[in-house]
């Protein structure tokens, strides 16, 4: 399909000039959501996006969804039991994260917020790394370059510029990789995110902006951030925006893959809005009953991303009971790994507060460390 809405856009004044024409098509409003799997688990088709997956791949995606949700549930439980200071649940956003996460090639690079546990999983990051942050033993601390998965970024929107800069570097290296920046609906209001759109479009950087619109920024509904659908923000910056059913893992995979491929091929950035829902609280510290009706949650439960995929697999005989049973077992084992690893996580050494602040020497800090060491020693007898 070539005469899509983006062609209209272009006709209405995007200067295509000497830049490569972006290939990802923003969807028109009817339907305004790219969907490949209905909430009932029925496979549908979309003129612009499609995807052929083997049964094994389909089962793999479902496995991801289940395991990611299980890690999340376990972490929430651990927080309730006082083992984590706080936890930001991804409940309801599994498909958006697994779909986009599995769209990445190994050499692609992801810049997460603080909620991308599902993407971390797809990158092969041990969930315990994530728990360390929420337990308070470190601020992240994994090696981003090991799995091409950057550290969690808590300051809203800041990572979108890092992703854009990284993508500019990829471009300079003439590498065929793409970069993906995750952020929420609330984040779209930050200056940084809009500056990232500008830098990315002006430099035609190979970056995909993946916005999980989960309808809420803590207590603020999406209407506090925008009066039009978020994917259309991209129109203002001259690159395509597309809205995908964020509870549909197949559609998220297909759309993200296409966007990443366009980035790799030199067509520049795309904004993907994964339309989804934060089914839990903002974090374990939050109380959503103060600001939203349970009806809303109930209606979204019917669109559950995990159930949807399960229905599809079952209905089409792609997975049998043995598979589901084995997965259940794997899931329990993973939960155990997470729980055990969390409880065993040692507290950091007091003196480690001074480490890693600088790469090179800093005499004053060295002196401070020495003084603190001596101070701590004065207590040694008494302990």
């Amino acid at each position: 399909m070539t005469d899509s809405a983006f062609a209209d856009q272009a006709a209405r004044g995007f200067r295509s000039s000497d830049r490569a024409t972006p290939l990802v098509r923003p969807v028109s409003d009817e339907p305004d959501l790219v969907q490949l799997l209905t909430p009932e688990g029925e496979r549908v088709h979309h003129p612009d996006y499609d995807i052929e997956l083997s049964d094994e791949e389909l089962r793999g995606l479902y496995r991801d969804l289940v395991l990611v949700r299980r890690v999340d549930t376990e972490a929430t439980a651990l927080q309730r039991q006082g083992e984590l200071g706080i936890w930001a649940s991804l409940l309801g956003q599994e498909a958006a994260q697994v779909g986009s996460g599995r769209a990445l090639r190994e050499d692609d690079y992801a810049f997460p917020t603080y909620r991308e546990h599902g993407v971390a999983w797809c990158r092969g990051v041990d969930p315990l790394n994530l728990l360390g942050l929420f337990r308070g033993v470190n601020h992240g601390g994994w090696d981003p370059n090991e799995k091409n998965f950057h550290l969690y970024t808590i300051v809203i929107g800041a990572q979108t510029l890092h992703a854009t800069g990284y993508a500019m570097g990829v471009q300079k290296d003439q590498a065929e990789s793409a970069v993906i920046a995750y952020f929420g609906d609330g984040a779209t209001s930050q200056g940084d995110v809009n500056e990232a759109f500008i830098y990315a479009s002006v430099f035609n950087a190979p970056v995909v902006f993946f916005c999980q619109n989960n309808q809420w920024a803590i207590s603020e509904p999406i209407e506090k951030q925008t009066r039009i659908p978020l994917y259309q923000r991209a129109l203002g910056f001259g690159f395509p925006g597309v809205r995908v059913d964020g509870n549909d893992v197949l559609a998220c995979l297909a759309v993200t893959k296409a966007a990443l491929q366009n980035a790799r091929e030199g067509s520049g950035p795309t904004l993907v809005e994964a339309y989804t829902y934060r089914m839990g609280a903002h974090t374990t510290s939050d109380d959503p009953t103060r600001y939203r009706l349970s009806d809303e949650l109930e209606s979204w439960k019917l669109k559950d991303p995990v159930q949807r995929m399960k229905a599809y697999l079952s209905r089409n005989g792609i997975a049998d009971q043995a598979f589901f049973d084995a997965l259940q077992k794997e899931s329990d084992e993973l939960a155990l790994h997470v729980r055990k690893g969390c409880l065993e996580m040692p507290d950091p050494e007091p003196l480690s507060v001074f480490d890693h602040v600088y790469a090179e020497e800093h005499p004053l800090l060295a002196e401070e460390k020495e003084q603190f060491r001596a101070y701590l020693e004065t207590f040694e007898g008494s302990h």
């Binding site: 942050l133 308070g136 033993v137 601020h139 300051v155 809203i156 984040a187 603020e220 507060v353 207590f379």
Partner: protein, 327 residues
């Protein structure tokens, strides 16, 4: 007489100010239905409406920038920054606009904007939620910077800050939000300590410990412990960091001859450096020891499992007291 928490004190202060002046607005992220992540604005939107208690888009520069515009239009906005570490996106608007506009206009405009910032650590939070960045603003001419340390001050200082025609950064010690004290609601602003005055919260003769915000309680605990060993610490709650109340500080140091300054912020160029430099300049011959500083280390705020080591506590204060006394 009602027992209130520090958070409630601010809430009541905001309510009082909103009742007495229809131009007072509250704005920020999640300040409406949620009542803020610390519930400091609880119930205000219900009572004053969405027009006066405004949930803003998630953009701090926008919060301060539009508050400036509202102030130019005659409003008195009270902006909530959700956590200390999230004020930086608004730094330009605060430092280049909010602080400087009055001088730019040769006094022809005033910007009565209050920026409320929950400050400091000790609540087991993740990164950016425990910072003490008062020195940045105290170094910025054109701003006033105050920090409350207890529920009664919280109640009055909130109202005083809102009544001030200058921009005020009002720090709220987040780990003391749930501390309680009795408030005599019949008291009015006239009964309150002036906003920019420090307060001697415990008299003593051997040494002065100056603190503010969350550290006042810690300093008081240190003083109690020291008293058991026969050392009489005078504790000064600075309350106002800019302007700094030098007469109160000077009087105390001239009496005790020794000073320890305590804060959570990193010591290097923290408030303690200014207090030390200024007190030393003004009380050179009274000081029997150099001013000692107890603060956070010169590192980013650590993960929460390390914060007890990072934050000044009773022991570290007493260690400094001992070093001063032994000097």
């Amino acid at each position: 007489m009602a027992q209130i928490t520090l958070a409630k004190g601010i809430n009541m202060g905001l309510r009082k100010a909103m009742e007495s002046n229809p131009k007072v607005l509250v704005m920020g992220e999640d300040v409406g239905k949620l009542g803020g992540v610390f519930r400091v604005t609880d119930g205000l939107q219900k009572d004053f409406g969405e027009d006066r208690v405004i949930d803003t888009p998630l953009a701090e520069s926008g919060i301060i920038g539009t508050a400036i515009g509202l102030a130019l239009r005659g409003y008195r906005p009270v902006c909530e920054i959700q956590f200390d570490g999230f004020v930086y996106p608004a730094f330009d608007q605060i430092v280049s606009q909010l602080a400087k506009m009055r001088a730019r206009a040769l006094g022809k405009v005033s910007l009565p904007v209050v920026v409320r910032i929950p400050v400091g650590g000790g609540i087991g939070a993740v990164e950016h939620h425990s910072e003490s960045n008062e020195a940045y603003f105290a170094h910025t001419a054109g701003l006033k910077v105050v920090v409350c340390s207890n529920p009664v001050d919280a109640y009055f200082m909130t109202q005083q800050a809102i009544a001030t025609d200058d921009p005020v950064i009002l720090y709220e010690p987040k780990r003391r939000y749930w501390e309680k004290a009795d408030l005599d609601e019949s008291l009015t602003l006239e009964n309150a300590t002036p906003l920019h005055q420090a307060r001697v919260v415990r008299e003593g003769t051997d040494i002065t410990v100056a603190a503010y915000g969350p550290m006042v309680k810690t300093a008081m605990e240190a003083a109690t412990a020291a008293a058991e060993e026969g050392k009489e610490i005078e504790v000064v709650d600075l309350r106002s960091l800019s302007p700094l109340d030098m007469p109160t500080l000077r009087a105390s140091v001239e009496k005790t001859g020794r000073l320890v300054v305590v804060h959570e912020a990193p010591t290097f160029l923290g408030m303690g450096s200014e207090v030390a430099a200024r007190v030393t300049e003004q009380c050179f011959y009274s000081l029997e020891a150099p001013v000692m500083r107890v603060g956070g280390f010169d590192t980013p705020y650590p993960p929460s499992r390390l914060e007890e080591d990072y934050l000044p506590d009773l022991d570290r204060i007493l260690d400094a007291v001992d070093r001063s006394l032994a000097f």
